[in-house]
Symmetry: D2
Subunit: 339 residues, 4 copies
C-alpha cells in the first residue's frame, strides 16, 4: 500500500533523508511484553556504521538511537515502537555541485524525473544511509524471532568479494565470531588480501561487488504464505529492496541450474534452500544476495565519502531484512489453522 512500509503482521514504516534532521522507523504489530536487548541493537548499528574501519566510507556518524514510543520499563507495549537516529555529519555543502550534475550510477536523475522536487544532497532518501532504519527495525525483529524460535540462527557473511570466494571447507566452519573478526566479514583466508584490495580501491575511487550468503538454521516448519507471500518470495523481495542488490538465489538455484532433476532433487536440503512450495520445511535455508560494485566511484569517491565495497557494511542489513521476514511470517502462522 505504501512505498516505505514492509511486512504484513510485523510491519515497519521507515522515513528520513540522508541530510535531513533524522532517519527512523515505526514498528507495528510487535506483540507486547517483548524485553528489549539494547546491547544487541547497538551492536548491530555498530556493524553497519560508516567509518567503522579503514575500508568503509569516512562519513562520521555515531548512529546513537533514541526510542520515541512503544516501550515502557524495558518491554514493548504492543503499541507502535518508534526509533530514530539523528544525522550529525551532514556536510551538505559538499553536494552542491551535484545539484547541477547528477552523479553517474546514482539515481538522482530518476528521482528528479519522478518527483520533480528532490533533495539532491547525498541522495536524499535514495542514499544507502536509509539502511540504518532497517537495522533498527531488524534488531527488534531479531529479538522477537529468538523469543518465538529459540533455536533460530541467522548467519550472513561475505561469500564472494571481487573474484575471491570462500572455499567449501571455509563454508563449513563459518561462525559469527569468524565473520566479525575481519573488517571484510569474509570468514576465509583471502580476507586480508581483500582488505588490501579495498584499501587501494578506496584511495583510487574503484569499487567491487560480490555475494552475501545467508544461512538460516532452526526456522520453524510451516511458515510462508502461498501463493504470493511464499517465504522465498518475501525473502527475495526484502533483499532486492536493498539499494545495491542485483540478484538473489535460493539454495543452489543459480549454480546448479544445469543439473537434470534426478540429480538436482537428490539432496533436497541444498537445492530447495529449506523452502518447498513457499513454506519452510524446518531444514537449513540458504540465500545468496548479489551486490553490484558500489556506484560512488571516481570523482565523488575522491572526497573519501566512498565504500569501495558495500558488502562488509551490508551484512547486518541483509540479516535485518531476513529477520523482518521471519518475524512477519511467524506471527502470520498464528492464524493458519484452528487451535
Amino acid at each position: 500500500m505504501s512505498a516505505n512500509s514492509f511486512g504484513k503482521r510485523f510491519r515497519i514504516t521507515t522515513f528520513g533523508e540522508s541530510h535531513g534532521p533524522a532517519l527512523g522507523v515505526v514498528v507495528e504489530g510487535c506483540p507486547s511484553g517483548l524485553e528489549l536487548d539494547l546491547k544487541l541493537l547497538q551492536r548491530n548499528l555498530d556493524r553497519r556504521r560508516p567509518n567503522q574501519s579503514a575500508i568503509t566510507t569516512s562519513r562520521n556518524e555515531t548512529d546513537a538511537y533514541e526510542i520515541l514510543s512503544g516501550v515502557y520499563e524495558g518491554k514493548t507495549l504492543g503499541t507502535p515502537l518508534t526509533l530514530i537516529v539523528r544525522n550529525n555529519d551532514q556536510k551538505s555543502q559538499d553536494y552542491n555541485d551535484i545539484k547541477a550534475a547528477p552523479r553517474a550510477g546514482h539515481s538522482d536523475d530518476v528521482w528528479k524525473e519522478k518527483f520533480g522536487h528532490t533533495d539532491h544532497r547525498g541522495g536524499g532518501r535514495s542514499s544507502g544511509r536509509e539502511t540504518v532504519t532497517r537495522v533498527l527495525a531488524g534488531s527488534i525483529a531479531q529479538m522477537l524471532c529468538h523469543k518465538l524460535a529459540p533455536e533460530l540462527e541467522v548467519l550472513a557473511f561475505s561469500y564472494q568479494i571481487a573474484s575471491h570466494t570462500l572455499s567449501e571447507a571455509e563454508l563449513k566452519s563459518v561462525s559469527f565470531d569468524k565473520i566479525e573478526s575481519s573488517s571484510t566479514r569474509f570468514p576465509g583466508a583471502a580476507s586480508s588480501a581483500i582488505e588490501d584490495l579495498l584499501k587501494k580501491s578506496k584511495a583510487e575511487g574503484e569499487s567491487h561487488g560480490g555475494i552475501i550468503r545467508t544461512v538460516i538454521k532452526g526456522v520453524p516448519a510451516g511458515i510462508g504464505q502461498p501463493v504470493f507471500h511464499k517465504l522465498k518470495s518475501d525473502l527475495t523481495a526484502a533483499l532486492m529492496s536493498i539499494g545495491a542488490t542485483t540478484g538473489v538465489a535460493l539454495g543452489n538455484g543459480v549454480e546448479q541450474i544445469e543439473l537434470p532433476g534426478t540429480q538436482f532433487h537428490r539432496n533436497s536440503q541444498d537445492v530447495y534452500g529449506g523452502v518447498r512450495g513457499g513454506i519452510s520445511t524446518g531444514e537449513q535455508m540458504q540465500i545468496d544476495t548479489y551486490f553490484k560494485p558500489t556506484s560512488s566511484i571516481l570523482d565523488v569517491a575522491k572526497k573519501g565519502r566512498h565504500d569501495p565495497c558495500i558488502l562488509p557494511r551490508a551484512v547486518p542489513v541483509v540479516e535485518s531484512m531476513v529477520y523482518l521476514v521471519l518475524a512477519d511470517h511467524m506471527l502470520w502462522a498464528r492464524t493458519d489453522k484452528l487451535e
Copy 2:
C-alpha cells in the same frame, strides 16, 4: 495482507485448487473504460495450456474462461473484474496413493504441516495449475499497460534449458514470432535438440531447469516506489512467487559480479537492467528468472502427467507477472506529484 493477493493499485486475488470446481481471479483497481481484447486473453491461455505439444504434460484442460463480473459491453466498469476457469480433467483417483505417501520434491507434506487439513489431489492449491489465474489477470494487465504505454514491449523466452544457452547473435534477433515458432520457446538453433531431449525425458521421468529471460522496452521513466516497492523488488517478488523459481537476476547482476565498478558501470543499460534506485530509467530492462528442474520426476511422471521442463509453459506466466507489476506501478505513479 493476504496470501493470495498481489499488487497495490492494480490488485489481484487468486483462488482455486487443482482438483476443485474452478480456479479464478478477482482484479481490483483496473480503471473503467478499458476495452478487452479477448483474442489476446485466449492466446495467452493457450500458450500456458497443458497438452499443447509433445513436450508438455498430457493433463487435458481446454481452459475456457468465463467472465463473472466487471465488464459490460466489452469494457471494464471500474468494478472488480472476475474471471474463472473450470477444471475438467480432474482424474482425482490417480492421486489417491499420494494421500499416504507424499511425492518427493512436492510440497504436500509442508502444506499438511502448516494447515493440518489439506487437499492431497494433485497438489491442491500448490499445484502449478494455479498459474492459469496469473495468466488471466496478467492478460488484463497487459491490455492496460499497452493502453497506458503504447510503446511498451515485454518479451519473455527460454534463454537456457539444461545446458543449452542462446548465443549473443541469437539474443540480438529475438522476436515474438521466433519464440512462438518452437514448442520450447527457445528462439535459437538448439531448439530442436532441446525438443528431442525433452521428449526423451518425458518418457523416462527425467526433468530439466533453466533460465527465462525477459526483455522489456518502452517502460515509462519514473515508475517504482522506493524504498520497499522499488521496481526491482516488486518484480523479484512477483517472479519468485512462481512455483519452480529459484533465483532472479537484474541485468547482468549475477554474471558480471566480479567486474570492478569502473568497468561494470561503463554501460549502464546492460548492468542496471533499466532500473536505478528502484525507479525505471526508461532504458531497456532485462531480468533473468531461474527455474529448477521440475519436481514431478520418476514415479508420478510415468503416468504422463509430467512436464519434463516447465520453461516453455512458464514463459506466458513470467510475462503475466511482469505486466502485473508494470500495471500496478504505472497507476501508482499517478499520485507521485502535484499536477
Copy 3:
C-alpha cells in the same frame, strides 16, 4: 487498499453486478479445518432473499450458491474460499429507460460521473443485490466466530420502522425465534400494523426507514485494535458501507447525549456498548444502525421491484457485517502479546 475488500485478517473481496452473470466473494485468512454449516449458510441467504414475503421486492432469485474453492471434504483448507450466486431474473429490458433518465435517489448519475462507462441496468454494482455476497461471507465468519467463541450471540432486529418502536419490555425478551416469526423482523406487538403499512406502501410506491438494533453477547474481552481499528470504528465502517445506512450509534450514545457524565457513566454497560478505548470489555454490546427510507419510490416502484422498507431483508446483512468484524478481530488478537 482496494474498494471491494474488507477486513485485515479475515478478509473478503466481493464482486458482481446486479445484472451481470454472477455475484460472489473470496474469503481470505479463514483458518483451515473449519467445518462448514451449509444449512446455516442457506438459512441466512433465505432471510435476505428478495420475494420472501408480501412486503419485499418481487425480483425472483433463488440465490442458490456454489462453492468454487477453499473447501475439501466439508472443511476449509486455509486457501481462499470462493462462493458465487448466479443472477437468474435479470429482466434487464425493464431498465432500458434508466439509461436516459437516472432514477431519483439512486446513484446511477454519480457512478456515471466517476467511471464514465457504467452498467445502468438495475444499478449495476451499486444495487442492493450486492449484499448477497456479504451474507455469503458473513455466514462463514459466523461459523468461525462460534468456533472461536462458543458463547457468542449476535441478534439483529428491527427496532424501529417508520414511527413504530419496540417497548422496553419487548426489548428485554427479544429472541431469534421471535425475530424470525414475523416478516418485518420487528419482535413486538406493532409487527402486524407495520406489515399492513408496508403492503400499502408497496402498492403505492411509498417507502420507510428505521433502525436495526444489534445486541451482541459473549464477545471475548480484549478484541479491537486502537487507535484506528478500534472495535467501534470497524463496526461503524462495516455498517455504514451498507447502501441505505445513514447513521450508527453505539450503546446509548445518541439518545443519552444530554446526560451529565456523573449520570451517563453510572451504568457502563448501557452507555459504552461493551467497548471501552476501542476494545471489547466482555460485556454486552449494542449498536443501532439507521436506515433511510428506500429510494426506489414512485415510478420504479410501480413495477413491483420495490422494497417499501429495506429493514426486514437488511437484518441478516447487518448480522453478517458484525460477524465479519468480530472474526477479523478475534484472529487479529492472536498476535497481541507473547504467548
Copy 4:
C-alpha cells in the same frame, strides 16, 4: 493491516504514548511539491492544545512540533513526512495510584487485559493526547486538499453541548470566525451560558457531551470507493476512531428517520449529506459526530487534569479526520478511469 495506520493513498501511521518521550506521525503518499503552510499547522495545534482556555484541562503542553523528514526547502519530497511533538509536562508521579486502581470510564483495564504489559501513566496510548498526531497529519491533508480542490471548505463546530443546541438561524450563519470567537466553539447565543456551565463542571468534576457538526462545501463530485470504502463509510470510521465518540449521522439520517420516503427524498441535499451510493455528488455534505461526556470525572478531575467537555478541543480533531479522508479519496480517484 496495522492498528495505527489510516488511509489507503494518503496514509498516516501515528505513534506515541501520553507520558513517553514523544508522539508523532508518518505521512505516506503525499505527492511531492506541496508547499507547507506552517502557520496553518501551528494554528490547528493551538486550537487542540490543552490549557488554551479556562474550560480545558490544565495539562501544560506547548505542542511545538518538529519535522523529521520528507520536506526540503519548504516543500514535500514525495518521501514519508514525519512530524513529532515532545511531551513536556509528564508529571507521571500523579498517576502512580492508577497502577493499583484503574479509573472508572477509562480503558486502563481493557488495555491490561489485551496486552498484559501496559503503561498506566495517563492512559498511555489510549490517552486523548494521541489526537495531537491526528491534527499534525490532518493539517498536511488540509494543505493538499486545498491545493487539489481550491473551493473546498470544511467547517466543524459544537452543534450541541449538554442540552444547548444551535438554532436554525444560527446554523445558517456559521463561519470560521464565529466558531473561533468563543472558547466553546459553539457559534450561537448560548455560548456564554455553556462557558459558565463548563467552568462550574471543571471545578466540580462533572462532564458533558454533545454533537460536533461538520459542514463540507466544494467537495469534487465522484470521490468515494464503493462498496467498502464509500465516502460515508470511511468518514464515519475516521470519526468513530476518536476516543469519546459514540455515534455518527450523515445528513439528517438520524433526526428524520421517521419520515416516509416521498418526504425524505424531496430535498436530496439535506438528507443524503452530499453522498449517494457512497460517492460524493458535489453538493454540500453534513456529518454529526456524537461525543459522550468526558470520562475523567470526580477524583481524577479534582487534580485539574480534566476537560469538562471535550468538544471545544475536539473540533480541530474532527476537521483533521475529515481532511484525511478527503485527501485519501481525491488521490484515489486519480486511478478511477482511463483518460
